[in-house]
Symmetry: C2
Subunit: 432 residues, 2 copies
């Protein structure tokens, strides 16, 4: 299609939602993407810049002249401009900022002073506020009079006092269903959640999910209203945080499916390096028992089973723990109860598989003692797996680190070392 036939291409993408267009741009290769953009940039919804993922955006930004970028940014909401500017170098930032209208420029520059991944970066500075003494009628007249300047979408009115402190919020559905003479102060909900500009984005997302919010006012250090965060931004963050946990547990960084070979190789290498070191540690444990293995080769055959079962059981516990920490269902209140429970679960599963594997080993190698040794090692390792699967993420969390980060490697290191040591050690004691 991209053989230069512009009308045909435009017709094809005409009905696409901007988010689908972004997906399309992510799926084609870089060269086709540039050809497409050369052809169609001025005809497409330029908000696609905000929709595409980072790698693709960088690629587009390196293609787009700063003037055209600045021109596009003028049409965006302020939170989208902030999001876009975060990735640019200073010179590019300056050019875009200069192109904005003075009011937006101040707001965007201000947002950029807040820490990355904070509420201040997520918020829209364009919002609707009103004093408590206004009536519903005045509110509606004001909104009608300022029709052209309202935010694209808003769901609540923030009621503020003369010092710009929010004193209540009113959903539009309530305003529109109320008669004109009623004052806002009679209508407003005074029991509402405010966010602070420096709140971490994951706390923002948590508040939206927990309290079913659709929008929430953001205040600065003096408690003054400076912006509003809407649900679409919170959904984005919620999804990003879930993705981060999943990827960290899988031992991958920030990569996207559209990243290039070199980038991916470079990102995965350090994780595999850590794994190599822990694997060597486990090998050192095995090497302590070289003599034992030489006499009973069956040990070499069976030892990966003990380690593998421990690794799996530990990963199960770890997964549940990381998720429960992320959703704040695992707290200091119930931590001790959960640790105790995991220990018991580890013991029960350990006994179950000890019996199964003990019998298998006995009949396979026709040696009841070998069966007893692997059974005992299985109980020990699954018990340790349960304990380390819960204690390691709890400890990382308490230390202020992300419990998903690297904990998978820690847990499997523990279960490998304990698995090999208990199995080979017991074998050396009992069978020789």
């Amino acid at each position: 299609v991209r053989a230069g036939d512009k009308p045909a291409v435009l017709e094809l993408i005409e009905d696409l939602h901007v988010a689908d267009l972004a997906d399309l741009l992510e799926q084609i290769d870089s060269e086709t993407r540039r050809q497409f953009l050369d052809m169609a940039w001025s005809d497409i919804d330029q908000e696609v810049l905000v929709e595409v993922e980072e790698g693709v955006r960088d690629d587009i930004l390196s293609w787009l002249e700063p003037e055209r970028l600045a021109e596009a940014a003028r049409e965006f909401e302020t939170d989208d401009v902030v999001y876009l500017l975060e990735d640019l170098d200073e010179e590019q930032q300056r050019q875009v900022l200069e192109a904005l209208e003075p009011e937006d420029r101040v707001a965007v520059a201000k947002s950029l002073t807040y820490p990355e991944y904070s509420a201040g970066r997520l918020m829209q500075t364009d919002f609707v506020k009103a004093p408590p003494f206004w009536t519903v009628g005045q509110m509606i007249d004001f909104l009608r009079a300022s029709a052209g300047e309202l935010p694209e979408q808003f769901y609540d009115i923030v009621v503020v006092d003369p010092a710009m402190k929010p004193v209540g919020t009113i959903p539009l559905s309530k305003i529109i269903g109320t008669r004109r003479p009623v004052t806002l102060s009679a209508l407003m909900d005074e029991d509402f959640r405010t966010l602070h500009v420096e709140d971490a984005q994951e706390d923002v997302a948590y508040a939206f999910k927990q309290y079913h919010l659709v929008s929430a006012p953001v205040v600065d250090d003096d408690g003054r209203l400076v912006g509003v965060i809407t649900i679409d931004d919170a959904v984005e963050v919620l999804d990003d945080e879930a993705e981060e946990d999943l990827k960290r547990l899988g031992g991958v960084g920030d990569e996207e499916i559209s990243d290039r070979v070199w980038e991916i190789t470079r990102q995965r290498f350090p994780w595999l390096g850590v794994n190599l070191m822990t694997a060597i540690l486990a090998s050192l444990v095995i090497s302590l028992f070289e003599g034992t293995i030489q006499q009973i080769v069956a040990l070499a055959v069976l030892m990966p089973i003990v380690a593998s079962m421990g690794g799996n059981a530990g990963t199960q516990t770890l997964t549940v723990a990381v998720r429960a920490l992320a959703t704040r269902d695992l707290t200091p209140t119930n931590a001790m109860r959960v640790v105790a429970r995991e220990t018991v679960v580890g013991f029960f599963n350990g006994v179950g598989f000890a019996i199964v594997m003990g019998l298998i080993a006995w009949f396979w190698f026709e040696d009841p003692h070998l069966g007893m040794v692997i059974a005992a090692a299985m109980v020990v390792n699954l018990l340790v797996a349960g304990l380390s699967g819960i204690l390691i993420p709890l400890a990382l969390d308490r230390a202020g680190a992300d419990p998903a980060l690297a904990s998978g490697t820690f847990v499997t290191t523990v279960t490998d070392v304990v698995g090999f040591f208990s199995f080979l050690g017991l074998a050396a004691l009992v069978l020789l």
Copy 2:
């Protein structure tokens, strides 16, 4: 606190949001929970029933008499009632249904006829619709007149034709900012997304995230409007789906942090059983080379390293693939490109770690040939890890299965078997 001092307890929980109250109920043990509910049930927000997680809800439902449950359910939104009824047995369902107002009863019973996890179960049957010829003034007057009967929260008006087919949607922010004489047909957005009652809930969540929706009309087979889904339900589903992927990759089922020991043991056992079988498969491969290991015990020491590196590399690829399939970033269009890329990444990382590990083995066991053997096995296994990490989830997805389910076990089975076979096989060929 729960020593029977009711006023003190009530004061403590007075300012709690219902979602926080739910968290509290999840964190205390079952007995304290019942004592607390005996004391405070009639004073708390009974919507807490909808907020708590499944295990705790079942516990509360077994404590709550059907009459009191039915009474509570009368105050809920219809989608919440549906959600609650899903878990009850038929007798309980009947009792609750009978207590509802006739209109709600019909709506709830109808919702229950749709498949589980479908749009029909998620939707609210209480929504605001209007004909296109109404003016903004008529709309506002209608809303004011029916103030008491409006849904608790709504964000859009659905414009319907005489056959109840949706023809457009209008956000409240647009209605409220427009003068009274304008007709809805002039205001409405005709390019909106409709969902079908039988759409899977994950498709619903995807649509909300992708198109930044806050609410969407749901139609039946005849295209008639039967309900509306709002963003809070979609957020819930999005979060559940992310949790499901994470847990399935970690080899755990549906368990929650508040589940009991026996439940958890029973849920984890089958996964560990599958792992045991695959571990035995790997052991069978090792047993083919018992003779080789007896002659060179160093092989037993080093072999877990090759398997472990393969398992990790495979899990990395798998994690990215599962996530990309869930977010629909990995599609038939780019699948071949991604497979090719993973192969190359696997090869590069394989070569890198082959050099590192080859040198380590050479110096550790003072045998250059052993170093060469482990290096070659490393390249083979990381290549296979990359390939199986991407091909297995793609194949599961194409077959209509969940790519997260069991794929971790498949991938590590492949990398274990290939790892042991390539390392020990090459050793038997080269070193003996």
